[in-house]
Symmetry: C2
Subunit: 303 residues, 2 copies
C-alpha cells in the first residue's frame, strides 16, 4: 500500500449541462482525484482554499482516506469556475475562471508527505509541478496532467517537468498538440521521448488509450444512457487509476491494465450525477459491478 | 458453413488521401464485402458492371470463394466514385458519384442463390433491398447497411425493409439520424424497435459498438500508424463479421463477439493500403495475428 501525494486545485464549480444546472459545487482537480483514489489507497492532498470554504464544504473529504494537513486555508475566495456543456456533451465552454487564492498558490509539501512513493501532479502551472518534485524524495511513480494552456504558453517549463515524470495523463487533443503529431501512436511515441515511459490518452466517450513503450492497451467508453455531468471525469479517472496501482504490492502488466479499467469505472460512475454527487455515495460493490460491466462490454475469447 | 448472398455496388473508385492518390481502382461495397467475407465463407455476389469492366478487373475475385454468376455485365459504364479525405482522415468529400449502369440496376437473384441462409444488403436504394428479400426464401440472417441519403430521402421504404432485417450495420451519425436520438444506447434501442434484433454501430477509428437486445459489446479501434485509405472499411468490416458468423455451425454469444473482432481485424488490415490492395494479398495467418492484436489491445483479467 503506497500513499499518494496529489497537488492541485480545490474549487467551487458552477455547471450547466443539458440535464441540469448547479452552482457553487465543491470541485477541483485535486478534489475529484483524491476522493476517487481514496476508495483504493491513502491520499495526501496539497492545495489551497479561501475563507469561503467552510466546515460544511470540507465534509466531502470526511471519513475518507484523505489527509488534509497540506490543504491550506488563506484569506480571500476559493478558486471558482463556471462552465456549460453542449447538447451532446461533446463541447464545453468556460464562462469564467477566477483563480482567487489559487493565483498566489505556492505548494508547500509538509515534511511527513515528502517521502510519498506515488505523486499525482494535477493540472497546474508546470513550474509549480516542478517545484513539487523538487520537494519530494525520489518517488517510485510520478504522474502528471496538463492542458493546452500550458502546452502553448509555457512549453519550456512543461518540458522540464515532463523529463521527470513517469506517466502523462492527457486527452487526445492535448497529446496531438504536445507532440505535433496527429496520429496517436506517433504522438505517444514523441511524448515518451520527452521522458515519460507511459502515456495515457483520455478520449472522452471513446474511452482511454494507453501506451507503455510500444505496447498498446485500449478500453472503449462504457455507453451510458444517463450522463449528467462530465466535470471532473478526467481527474476521477486518474484517481481510480493511480489509486488502484498504489494498492498493489508491485506493478505488473496485468494490474496496470486493471488500473486503467478501475479509472474508467470511476469516471463512468462519476458522470452519472452532478459534481461529486455520484462519488460521495459510492460503494465498493458498485465499483466492482462497474468493473465487471467493462469486462462484459469488451470480453471475447481468443480464436 | 452457410453461403452468404450479397447485393450491392461494384465500382471504380478514384481516391485521394493524405498519403497518396489513385484512380480507377476496383471497389464498391459488394466488392469489399465479398472479398473480406470470402476468407471465411462462400459468397454469392449479385451486382452489375459495364463494358469497361474487363477480365483484368475481374481478377480481384479470382481464386476466391466468390460465385459471380449473379454479376451481370451490361452496355454502358461501371459505377464511378471519386472522393478525397481530410488531413486526419476524419472527413471525406465526394467529388462525384456517377451511377452509370447502376442507375437502372434491378437485382435478379439467380434461382440457385434464392435459398441462401445469410443475406447482406449493401448500401443501395431500400426498395431494391426489399426487392431482394422478396426473391429469397426465408434466410436465417439478414443484415443491412444504409446511409444518410436513404434515411432522409426514402424513410418509408427504409422502414419497410428494416422490419424484415435482423442486423443493421451503420455508422454512429446514421444511427443518430435514423433514430432521432443523440445517445447511442437510446438510438440502438429505437432502431431495434423498427425490427432488427441487432444493431452494429461503426465508429471509424473509435471502433465498433454492438447491441443485442440490451446487451452491449464494444471494441476500440486498433491504433494504426500507417493508415493509407479508409475506403471500403465499413463493408470490409461487414464482410469479416458476417463471413465469420457464417462459418460457425451455430451462432452463440461468444462467436458473435468474435465475429465483431473478425470484422474489426479485416477493416483494420484493409485501411493500411489503397483500395483492395491489402485484402488481395492477405493471408489467414495475418488475419489470425490481427485478431490476436485486438486481444492484446483489450484484454484484462477480472478482479
Amino acid at each position: 500500500m503506497k500513499p499518494i501525494l496529489t497537488v492541485g486545485s480545490v474549487a467551487f464549480d458552477s455547471i450547466k449541462t443539458p440535464t441540469g444546472e448547479f452552482s457553487h459545487l465543491v470541485g477541483g482537480a485535486a478534489t475529484f482525484f483524491s476522493i476517487a483514489a481514496s476508495f483504493f489507497a491513502d491520499v495526501r492532498l496539497v492545495g489551497v482554499v479561501g475563507e469561503d470554504f467552510t466546515e460544511e464544504h470540507s465534509r466531502v473529504f470526511a471519513g475518507r482516506r484523505i489527509d488534509l494537513c497540506g490543504l491550506q486555508q488563506v484569506a480571500g475566495e476559493t478558486f471558482r469556475w463556471r462552465g456549460e456543456y453542449s447538447a451532446d456533451f461533446s463541447k464545453r465552454e468556460t464562462l469564467y475562471t477566477r483563480l482567487n487564492v489559487f493565483e498566489a498558490f505556492k505548494p508547500e509539501i509538509p515534511t511527513e508527505f515528502r517521502s510519498s512513493p506515488v505523486v499525482f501532479l494535477a493540472n497546474i502551472h508546470p513550474s509549480l509541478q516542478l517545484d513539487v518534485l523538487n520537494q519530494v524524495n525520489s518517488p517510485d511513480l510520478v504522474a502528471l496532467d496538463t492542458m493546452n494552456y500550458w502546452i502553448e504558453g509555457t512549453p519550456n517549463e512543461l518540458r522540464a517537468v515532463l523529463a521527470r515524470v513517469d506517466v502523462v495523463i492527457i486527452n487526445d487533443e492535448e497529446a496531438q498538440q504536445l507532440s505535433g503529431e496527429a496520429n496517436l501512436v506517433k504522438a505517444a511515441r514523441a511524448i515518451r521521448a520527452m521522458g515519460p515511459t507511459h502515456v495515457v490518452i483520455k478520449r472522452g466517450e471513446h474511452g482511454v488509450l494507453v501506451t507503455r513503450g510500444e505496447r498498446l492497451f485500449a478500453v472503449p467508453g462504457l455507453p451510458l444512457e444517463d450522463v449528467r455531468d462530465p466535470t471532473g471525469a478526467g481527474d476521477t479517472f486518474a484517481g481510480g487509476f493511480l489509486g488502484y496501482l498504489s494498492s498493489m504490492p508491485t506493478v505488473t502488466e496485468e494490474n496496470w491494465n486493471q488500473a486503467v479499467i478501475a479509472g474508467s469505472a470511476m469516471a463512468s460512475l462519476s458522470v452519472q450525477d452532478f459534481g461529486l454527487g455520484a462519488l460521495l455515495n459510492l460503494t465498493k460493490t458498485e465499483i466492482g459491478n462497474r468493473f465487471q460491466d467493462f469486462k462484459s462490454l469488451t470480453h471475447f475469447d481468443a480464436l
